[in-house]
Structures are given as C-alpha cells and as structure tokens.
Symmetry: C2
Subunit: 451 residues, 2 copies
Amino acid sequence: MRADTAYFAPQAWVDGAWAFDVRLDVAADGTWRAITPQGSARGATVLDGPVLPGIVNAHSHAFQRAIAGLTEQGSGTDDFWSWRDRMYRAALRITPAQLEAIATQLYAELLAGGYTQVCEFHYLHNDVDGRAYADPLEMSLALVRAAQATGIGLTLLPTLYMRSGFGAAGLRDDQRRFAGTPASVLRMAESINALRLPRINAGIALHSLRAVDPGALAEVAQAAKAAGWPVHIHIAEQVQEVNDCLAHHGQRPIEWLLDHASLDARWNLVHATHTTPQELQGLRAAAASVVICPSTEANLGDGVFDYPGWAGQGGCWSIGSDSHVTRRATEELRLLEYSQRLTRRQRNIAAQAGGGGSSAAWLLQGALHGGSAAAGQPLGGLRAGQRADFCVLEAQAPSLAGMAPVHVLDAVVFSSPDAGVAAVHVAGLAGAALHARTQSAFASAMQALWA
Amino acid sequence: MRADTAYFAPQAWVDGAWAFDVRLDVAADGTWRAITPQGSARGATVLDGPVLPGIVNAHSHAFQRAIAGLTEQGSGTDDFWSWRDRMYRAALRITPAQLEAIATQLYAELLAGGYTQVCEFHYLHNDVDGRAYADPLEMSLALVRAAQATGIGLTLLPTLYMRSGFGAAGLRDDQRRFAGTPASVLRMAESINALRLPRINAGIALHSLRAVDPGALAEVAQAAKAAGWPVHIHIAEQVQEVNDCLAHHGQRPIEWLLDHASLDARWNLVHATHTTPQELQGLRAAAASVVICPSTEANLGDGVFDYPGWAGQGGCWSIGSDSHVTRRATEELRLLEYSQRLTRRQRNIAAQAGGGGSSAAWLLQGALHGGSAAAGQPLGGLRAGQRADFCVLEAQAPSLAGMAPVHVLDAVVFSSPDAGVAAVHVAGLAGAALHARTQSAFASAMQALWA
C-alpha cells in the first residue's frame, strides 16, 4: 500500500475554472483525497506548471498507429473506403508482439498528449489466418500489457464484427481477423474484468449497424445493461453508410438505433457525423453520449459534426484520437472548434453554444464530462473521490509566455505549437515518459510489419 | 567574408522528392554552391536528421502575436469583426520597443517552426495618438532589428491604409496608427531597400480594396511595377467584404481588381477565400499568387479556399501565419488539407488536385514555389544559386519512428505532434534558437501591454 502524497500547483483546473495555489492530496488508493485552492504547500511536492485533469481518449484503434502517415498518398478519387482498404493491410498482418510494441509507444505518446485513460475499440480478435488464438485474449492482453507498461488507464471494448455490410451473410476474407459472436465478445469483456487489474476495465462495442445484425445487437446490449458496462458503436461516420442503412432499413442509422435499442447513459455513439436535429433530440432524451474524433474525421474526410446542435443543447460528448494521426488532446479540441468555425463562418462556437465565456473551457469541460461516460467510471476532474489523474504543463512553453493566468487554457488550446506536458500522473502514479527503448521496439515492429 | 562550408544529410528534400546522402555546399555569400545527392561527407558537418528547405511565411502581422490566445472568449455572436475590435486594442497600444520584443520572440518561434523568411504586412506606422513618428521608419526598424537578432529573412511590406471602408472619407479613430499616403509607404519601402541589409528587402502592400481608393491603388501599383517589388493585398477574406464591394463597385473584389489593376506575377492576393471560378481563371491568366493562411482563416471563421480550383489548375500559392495563432509551417499545411477534406468529404485533395502522389509533397512544393513570389526573390528550394535556407528535423521525433525514408514528409505533415526542428539555417547561418532571454523580454512586453 502506498502512503498518501500531496502536490502543490500554482494553478489547477478545478470544476471548470482556474484555481490558484492549489494543494492536491492523493489518497493511498490513488484517488483524490482533497483538492484545496489557496491551500498549503507544506509537505507537498511543488509542481512547476499549470495542472490540468487527465483527459479520457474515448476512441482508439491502437494498431492504426502503425499506419499514421502511411495513407497520405493518393491518385484519382481517394476517400474513406480506399483508406479502409489500406488500413486492412495493417490489420491483416499485425502479430500480438507487434501490437504490444505499437500500443506501448502509442500509450506513452497519449500520456504525453494529456490523456490518462484510453478506450480501446478492439476488433482484432483472430490470428492472421482468421483462426481463433488458443487464448481468446491473446490480442487483448497485448493491449493490457501496453497499458500496464505505461501506466495509462484502459477501458477495453471487445468489439462484435459479424458481417461485411447490411444484410450480408458474413465477413469478407480481409475481415477474417475480426470475426466474433455475441458470446465470444461478452466472454472477453467478462474475462478482462475478472482480472481486476488496477486502472483496467472492460465494456463492450458493436462495430456498426452494418457489421452487426439486429438480433446480435439486442443480445449484446442486454448483457451489457445487466453488467452495467459502457457500450460503444461506430455510427453515421460516412454518408454512404447512412444511405446503405436507409436502403436496407428504411431508416437513418441513429433513427434506427433509437427505435431498436434501449439507449441510455452507458451508450457512446462514435462519430455521429451525419445527423438530423430529430436524431440528436432522441439521443439527448436517452442521455446517450457522442464520441467526436476531430483529427481522424478530418483526415478521413468524414464531415463536420453538428456541435451547436448537440453541445448547445446539453448533449454529452467526449473525444477520441481513433486512427491516431494526432496524439495530443489540445490539438483535437482546437480542430473540433476550427472545423465549426470554418463551416459556420463564426468564431468561438463552443462559447456561443455553451452560453458565453471561454471556448477552450467549454471544450475541455465537455471532453472531461463525456470521458467518464465513455470509460464507464467516474474520471475527468480534480475532485475528491475521483481517480488522481492529472498532467502538468510546461510552464516555459512559448505559447504560455506572458499569458495572464486566467488565459492559460485559451492559449493551451488555441496558441500552437501546443504547450507540452511536462509530467503526467494516473491514479497518483507517474505515467511513463516517452523513451528510446519503447520507441526502438516500435520502430522494429514497424519495419517488420512493412518489410 | 565567410569561408565556404559544407553539410551532409542522410536525406534532403531536393526538387520535390527525397534525395539521400546529400552533400550541401554553401558558398561564402550564403547561397547554395552545390547540392549533391549520393555525395561525399568529406569535410562536411554531418546533420543528424532529414533536411527540408526553409519555407517562406508569406503573411505576418507580427504585433498580433501579442493577442494569440487572447480572443478565444465570446458571448452572443462572435465573428471576424468582433475579433478585429479586440485586435485593434493591441494595435492602439503597442510601442516600438514592445513591437521589437514581440517580433523577436515571434521570429524565433517561426524559425523553430520551419520558416526562414517572413513577409511583414506592416501598417502600424504612426504613434499611439496617430501622429507621425519623427523617424517614419520607427516601427519598421523594430521589425528589422527583430529579424536581424534572430537571423530570419524579412520582406517588409509597408502597407497603405487610407479609409475605413468603401467610399469612406478617412479612417476611424481606432485606425489612426495606420494612416499613410501612397508617397509615404513608397518612401518607406525605398528607405528599407536603400539600407541594403543582408536578408532584408521591401515590397509594398495595399491593405484591401475597402481601405484604399482606386487612384491611390493605381499610383502604388505603378511605382511597385517600376521598382520590381512584390505587391500584397488582403482580398475576399470575409463574405461581408465581398458584399460591400458588390454594393459599392457592382463587382466582386477580385473581379474589380482584375479589371482595374495590371496584375502580374508580382501580385500576392492574401486569403482570396471567397472566389468564383472566373475570378480564379483571371488570376491565373495574370500569373498572380494567392497567400493562404490556414490557421488564421480557421480561427477567424473566414471559410475555405477553393484549393482544387486553384492549385489543381496550376495556380501559384504560398502560406502565411498571419495572426500567429499557429507558428509552425507543417501544421498550416495539415490544416489546409484538412479544411479541404472536411468540406469535400474526400481524402488527399492536394494529391488529387496535383495529379497523384503524396499530398504532403504537393503542399510543400506549392508553398515553396509561392514563397518566392511573395518575398520577391528566389527562395524556396535546395538548389544551386538560391539562398542556403534549410532546417534539420528531429530524427528522434515519435512521428518519424519506424517511418520508411520515402514516407518521412507524409509523417512530418500528417502525423502529429509535429516532428520538431532541431536546427535551422538562413543564408547558411544558424538561426537563433528560442531562448529564455528573448521569451522573458516578450513576457515583459505582454505584461506592460495588457497591464
């Protein structure tokens, strides 16, 4: 058992605003014992930069870190679907050891990017030939070990992927590693939770409406409800997917989901890029969350989420780095706001949607709030009882020079290069810094993967 | 006189592609003597990362670095024009000494962001009361000293600003520092060029069609043509500006300019966000350039430039960081591509527009090519005879780990956090690194400015 520890920060983000001279007491179990603005530094480790709560990265496919930067060449028409073909090439090759090396590097990068928890939407279940591994958790445990090695919290979401499209009988050959059944993915989630590892829990995911038939969806949803797990699902990311759903079901994806699943606050709808006001209203009534992935949605040409129509009406949302082309939370928040400004031709959309004030504050608070829903546990704030996750910003970052303390968050999100993370703690423990050995193992995995 | 020097790089971006084991010979006058792929390292300083040419930052208002991060709060409707009111608050207060401190920090940041030349669209001519300084170059020389202190190249563009809007008799009171005449700005440009300072030249700018009457525009354009100077002008950034021009002249801004100015390759149209295909065709026929400012255009909610309609037809363009919310060239290129992907719902727009290949390569080549037009001198490549400007990327950056050498540029632009710049040279000399003294002077200026 660890002893209680204490930190003291010149300023820290507490309940949606900066507090100053903050004493941060961590209990021996890794939760916050007390957060005390204008507190005493006695016996505390003094932190030398502004402190932010850790952010939940609500959507990750860790293996896709291996293709970051490798899909940026094209000829003729290039879109989400041609990207997916290239992504499958990595998905088909990757070994458990490679996945562990890649995820370890990624998680260290995510910690350095301000994230303290990652939700893994995990569908690489089978071996390269599509056969079950002797241990059904073979690939899952590679992710678990990566999380343990770096210290980041992990919500593993074993993902059900059964068919190649609406009404299809099964998977394409290049989807053979994804195959599972409701029973197999539920068992994976149960097994991970049964391990009772610190900072690691499991929920469940349904890949998408096109990949899961209605009966299987109902079965998984029912079991998840009984277990109290978070449920994640990709939805309405691409126009083609919306059109396919309309053709098959006569309803748009979210419309169908609202009619056929008992959505509640445990549900996290990933992307939800193409929506109607009625769909958003239905999701809000169900208290479901949306997971926005700004950098990936930009990189894949998905389109722009209706942020004012959602957050402006009190909708709950989180952020995810998804394909990991960007591994820094502040850049995601900036890109989320910029995609809105570019298409709406106004400024401070988050502030306008929230009712005024700092756009960065609305963005950060939204991401913190939604992160708890995504991870299925109370994370996302410097508050007594919550897990003691925080990062310390580089006080000497050029973007913070000369900034009045009350404007520090505005500069962190909107003045770039982004202020770096000098240190990060998860459950009160220091997260792994990026280091040469991890990166060298990652590079070796990349070279083997692409040889 | 310096002696010849030589560098040797594992890979360097030469004529639009990676070359390997490149010897880079710098002549004593600071230009490239020879670029030799598969060359010898004998007697050369070995660089330990990939080498890129220096990029021209084609549009800068240095003083606006002082408000980066300070305009991200709002209530009710917030747009470009409310932002401008806040920006004027800085413009009205800043002293020559503060400008020098701010620009020195900014230019060090720009060097660290991969830029080796900056074009200053400079309209802060008068003192805080709107009176002429005893020395008309008082504010200009603050920028010159900042450039000299850091080593960055500077193209100063004294800017004509005469009236507050189409048909207005003069300036608003809060524009009193901008006041000038065709004669006064032309004289400033002549005086700067007469100094014959290394790496520093001058061209001329017209603030915008709304701020300059047709007769003055013609006078300045004529003189610039005789002198061979680059001419810059803000144009069609905001829809309201287009509508005001239509109301006053019965033509759209670019349409009017095409009819009333003798555009040629020395003209650089800044933003050109709202255009018609006919306007772009006219600009192309005139061989004029467009200066795209992706981060500022996103931050200000301007809208999205018609990149395929311009670059896809061979139009010349450059990038500028304008208001300096972002001070890194790779992030500008990424945001330029992402704004296209988000609104067109396709991927690799730059590659598609260019005819295939690497989006990052098309983006970098475009920016290098257009940069020469903006600065009015041959910059923008590792090529014998050009100024020896280059930066060395951090080979150990996580985004470059495991990358095959041919994909390094793709990762530099599209995998973030962006690979850092380990070293930068301008005319063969090391540019200033960011350091504590510069930043401390900047912070003091900020505190005085906002006290």
